[in-house]
Assembly symmetry: D2
Homo-oligomer: 404 residues x 4
């Protein structure tokens, strides 16, 4: 590996990445640029500035990326009704490509030759950060401290802080035993007692939602307005993408909506157990399917359903910045041209129920679908020929003695 002059680090301001700043300075003798983003994780990002300064960092980037994140990543993904392994709404995965992009942009601006991140060598995030970085700047060098150093325990990290003069902030209250990660779309929990998949998460773990048991006894109704597959207003109030998600997180979370507890398959080859809260996403998935149910052609809808698992895997595995993801996105976005209209949902103690959908572009034709007399809109006699020809190959086979 050639020598490194400057490295851009995805910096949270927390203990781990603070150690990484110092470790990079010492190990590589290089300058460190920190990059801290507000992607809706719900914590202040400004405090990271002082911490970085205290570590001697001269170039400090602090960005509010919430709107870009919602508009260019979350919303496009939801156009595909994306869900990984039937359950997971990809709340962590979809945030990574934006971080990778900003890391590279900052590397280009600051003349850095490397990037670094605080993801471990067992997880998916290292793959997502690094595939994105390589795709956007093929000659970049990547430093993944958790794969290199020997500070692989809390004690060793604390000792490193003590010997390297890094301030350790004492958080109030008891520290969560879980490994957590949050952004506008979700918060995730891993580790501790979750490592036993038979063990039910304790109520105290969840942070964004109330328990269904603790949710209000009265349901909340929402009317979501769609344009080209994206929510543009709630209850008649126009909202930006990030505001849509923030608003839905609040309302759905208060109704106990959005908890998930799964065992998933990581790209690096192992199964892991994770719990997630995705209040807004849970509503968005159901509602988007509902508006599509009125406005999408059948075969387009089915084609989307068949392509979706692959699209979901691409995002999960870190291939947002790949030509195959882009290629699929062309078809997905094209399919949304007429996905306009309104969906009414009812939120109640953990349930999201679609109770109405309407659209000026609806393909639902009451005149044809009706059980009442349809005045010739549909000729029932056509069905006989339809069935007969669809059956022809089956009848020929049966005539040839092929049985079941």
């Amino acid at each position: 590996m050639s020598s490194i002059n400057k490295v851009v680090l995805a910096y949270s301001g927390g203990l781990d990445t603070s150690v990484i700043v110092r470790w990079l300075q010492e190990t590589y003798g290089c300058e460190v640029v920190t990059f801290t983003a507000d992607i809706g994780q719900g914590e202040e990002v400004e405090p990271a500035r002082a911490k970085a300064e205290a570590l001697g960092v001269k170039e400090i980037y602090i960005d509010d990326l919430r709107e870009e994140y919602a508009r260019d990543y979350v919303f496009p993904m939801f156009r595909a009704n994306t869900i990984y392994e039937g359950e997971y709404l990809l709340g962590t995965s979809i945030a990574r490509p934006l971080i990778a992009k900003r890391l590279i942009e900052i590397a280009n601006e600051t003349g850095a030759d490397a990037i670094s991140h605080g993801a471990t060598g067992k997880g998916n995030d290292q793959v997502r950060f690094e595939l994105g970085a390589y795709a956007l700047k093929p000659g970049v060098q990547v430093i993944a401290p958790w794969r290199e150093w020997d500070l692989n325990s809390r004690d060793k990290l604390m000792e490193y802080c003590a010997t390297h003069n890094i301030a350790v902030e004492q958080k109030r209250g008891t520290k969560s035993p879980y490994s957590m990660d949050a952004n506008l779309l979700h918060i995730s929990y891993e580790g501790a007692n979750l490592e036993d998949p038979w063990s039910e998460p304790e109520e105290a773990m969840w942070r964004w939602t109330v328990a269904p048991e603790a949710a209000p006894d009265q349901p909340t109704y929402l009317e979501l307005s769609y344009q080209q597959g994206d929510i543009v207003a709630i209850d008649g109030v126009a909202m930006s993408p990030a505001t849509v998600i923030e608003h839905l997180n609040k309302v759905a979370g208060a109704n106990g909506v959005g908890r998930l507890d799964i065992v998933e398959n990581r790209y690096v080859g192992m199964k892991s157990r994770g719990c997630y809260e995705t209040p807004a996403g849970t509503v968005m998935l159901r509602a988007h399917r509902a508006i599509e149910s009125l406005t999408l052609d059948r075969e387009v809808a089915h084609l989307k359903d068949e392509l979706m698992p692959r699209y979901a895997s691409l995002i999960y595995n870190g291939y947002w910045w790949s030509p195959e993801r882009q290629m699929l996105q062309q078809s997905i976005d094209f399919s949304q041209r007429e996905v306009n209209g309104e969906v009414r949902v009812k939120l109640y103690k953990g349930n999201v129920t679609v109770v109405g959908r309407r659209s000026a572009e609806s393909l639902f034709d009451e005149k044809i679908a009706t059980f009442d007399e349809d005045q010739g809109a549909y000729n029932q006699a056509d069905a006989e020929g339809f069935i007969k020809l669809n059956a022809l190959r089956l009848r020929i086979a049966a005539n040839r003695g092929r049985g079941f």
Copy 2:
């Protein structure tokens, strides 16, 4: 069409199919064999005998097909996590191939040259019945009265009964305005005010589930035991397939679980709005995914997810009795060899939550997945090469100037 001597009719004992008996006798001058099956619709089938006799039917078949239905149709379908258009659990669709098969078996036993059914010319059921019949007996003739006659309103049917001496049973209470259909797996509602997709179903419509609002304040926990992808016991009590479904319907329905309200795309080309109650199926889908999450290989799981929409469409469209459905079933069933273990679910006011899963065949390896020191079970350094080679094509492209 050649002349018909004897026709086997799928006979419910209700008004419509009673009219069909007489209409077939008169229109085709043929003998009618009635076939009435208990597939768990929740109504007595024996009364159909007297009604058929009153109509002059000499060969009357009344079968209890619940176990065959659950074992050979519902359970195999759930092995694939089958869901149509992201929402519908195929409760009507999966019952049709069994009816088709019995109609043909009875035609063969009784020497009938035709079958008949009471499905309309606008729906999917005609397709499912007839494709199945043709696949199993290619020379059979099919009579679909709703596509032929002019009795296309309630009034005309009643008038026909009056002039043809068909007893009309007065049901107690008000008649439901909905078109309904039920079997072990679900009950469906169509028509009336549901024909406006913006209109919320009225509470009085639902029959199998209580409203989440009316469900108990205490959750119910269940432990489901799987063998090769099928539930074989609940809370430690071994149960037959039909008993599993009946039991889950009862428990889940009492907890407000299983309501669905969707707009779906029919095979005959129109969209229609339907409401469904599938209490057991809703639990089974979630729990099956959970046991698979522990026991299935990742790529097998993903392959299943990619094949599923097509498999679902085959069933929805009436191609159960087709070589392509059989071909897919081979792979699906093969994938279930090690899908054994237990899943704990919590039912609460409409929610089904998986709270634990375990298996002697689990592929979850706590030793590898742990956040703690893993004693070398996984070499984090391997991740670098993994990422580097996966990135190679992306880097080459970027070096060639291909951007994003």
Copy 3:
């Protein structure tokens, strides 16, 4: 069916469609507009004018659609390496949507309320014409004489001509016993002794190609230039799409290239045997794959390969004018942005061999692929981690006792 005032007929000028003109006039008492197109079938279209006039037709359309056909239908299809059932290049299928589109345009211009065509009720073409027509003008009426009349033999047609004063042209030489159809992309043969799939076609049947045995003893080399997936020049000479196909047909046909003899599955449910000559198409498929082999990303190429069979079926089945075909086309066209460069092919006695490919956008990196020392362009040690992590799930399964 409501009464018809005016019908636009796809009119070849031949016997069958001349009978149809008169039959439409008599049966429907309506005015007939004829539409005759040059889509490269290799016969003069102008003579159709006099024939139509002789039949009393007042509105006569004769169009040269060769460039539109090549540019907007054939070329887009070849971007996908489209091939139906592993063999058939869709030479008939791809011409139909253009005919359907022109029929509807003319219907709109002339105020006609119906269209008509000369395709039989057993084939695919009726489906392709009519699906296109309905998609483009949903209220149009379609008259398919072969499904309606009883002139279902040559003798009856001749008799009809005699009694209805239709001139029957005596073609010189012996009439071909085959049912043939031709356009710029191919000529097809069906019927006669081909109805026995064990029977080898006689040499005299083929019209566009010489037999490989009769082809020159010297090979012909061609250099094809691609821009965005389309051939834009041959041997350095810029050519329009139709000219490209005409030129390749001539050169490849002279080298015995492009014969095909297959049994295919029709959309209407039967198998049929057809022979085809597609000289240009055979070259274009091989050469396009070759230029893609240099310029496409691997995953994009694989995704295209997986989508292709469905795209081919859509075209074969008549769904060119469908939203799902359009949706797929978005992805396909997007994938071709960098498919630029040159391919050298050798034509020799029936063989098409790619002997070279180059591109300024090539992703082939000799520096990395070389067997010689690569100066560190590729780090072989990365392969170990790549393999180890890809093997992880397999090792875990094997450790759990899952064998093969």
Copy 4:
């Protein structure tokens, strides 16, 4: 890495693997077991015994695996009409899983704790050997000398031989400049001037086929008999799987059939250019499609075509020993139950032409497909309803103003 006591090496008897024997002995201080297999590469395997003995090897395995290779690997693969990236018949890829399996069997028999092979760190073969080994024996250690040592040039290897007393055999004639690999199914060429994809291979490179120009002026006809998708006889003579391939290689090669020249995408991320001769395989692919064209149901055939690219990638990438490959094989094999019959092919100067196919299980129904009067076997009027209902969704969309 723990210490190694005994390693099983895939040993060809050539220079490279002889160096590996010594290098393993010296570097790891371990015992080396050699394994040499006849998989139809066309060279004697017995001479490897003396060479191994000379290197001090005590446990020497020499196996004739030709029939197992043909029967359990090549034939199952051809049932799927497998082809990678539209061109490559996977001749190298499909031989690797068998080698991996034998390496592990021998490791188990001899108590070895490691395996080794002579594949480089840039290619696919390392992946195929090692994924197979790990899947079959998860705890095995793998030594890949080309990724570890510094003998990365011919000169260094020769010097190693000189200093380590390894006999270097002088081959008669000029040495081929190409990297070659052969087995029953094909011979491959890489490197040298092929590294320029614009460069045409020189005639002298090819070893298994004559040039089309040099092939006989008379065609050769063959009749291939199929049972369940496999060839069981040629020209009426029953043959074992390996004999089928050997026979076809000889006859097809003599007719100039089977050359291929492509740029392919390796799993490790680079493109590479390879030339292949696969005479038997080229015939087998065409003929198998022909017998399937008569005997397979349409939807089964299409499903196979859609699954094939993924199945091909699995084999190419080294996942033969994976549950997902097994899962697909279930469906593929099931589809072949009625793939019985005969195919006649004509071989002529590089061309393989199917000139006839017949089967007792044929689904081709001349009575229905005929252009002549069919006596009511097919009701043309059915086509109208078939088209009308298939068009319904398109018409509704057009009525809603959705255009093209």
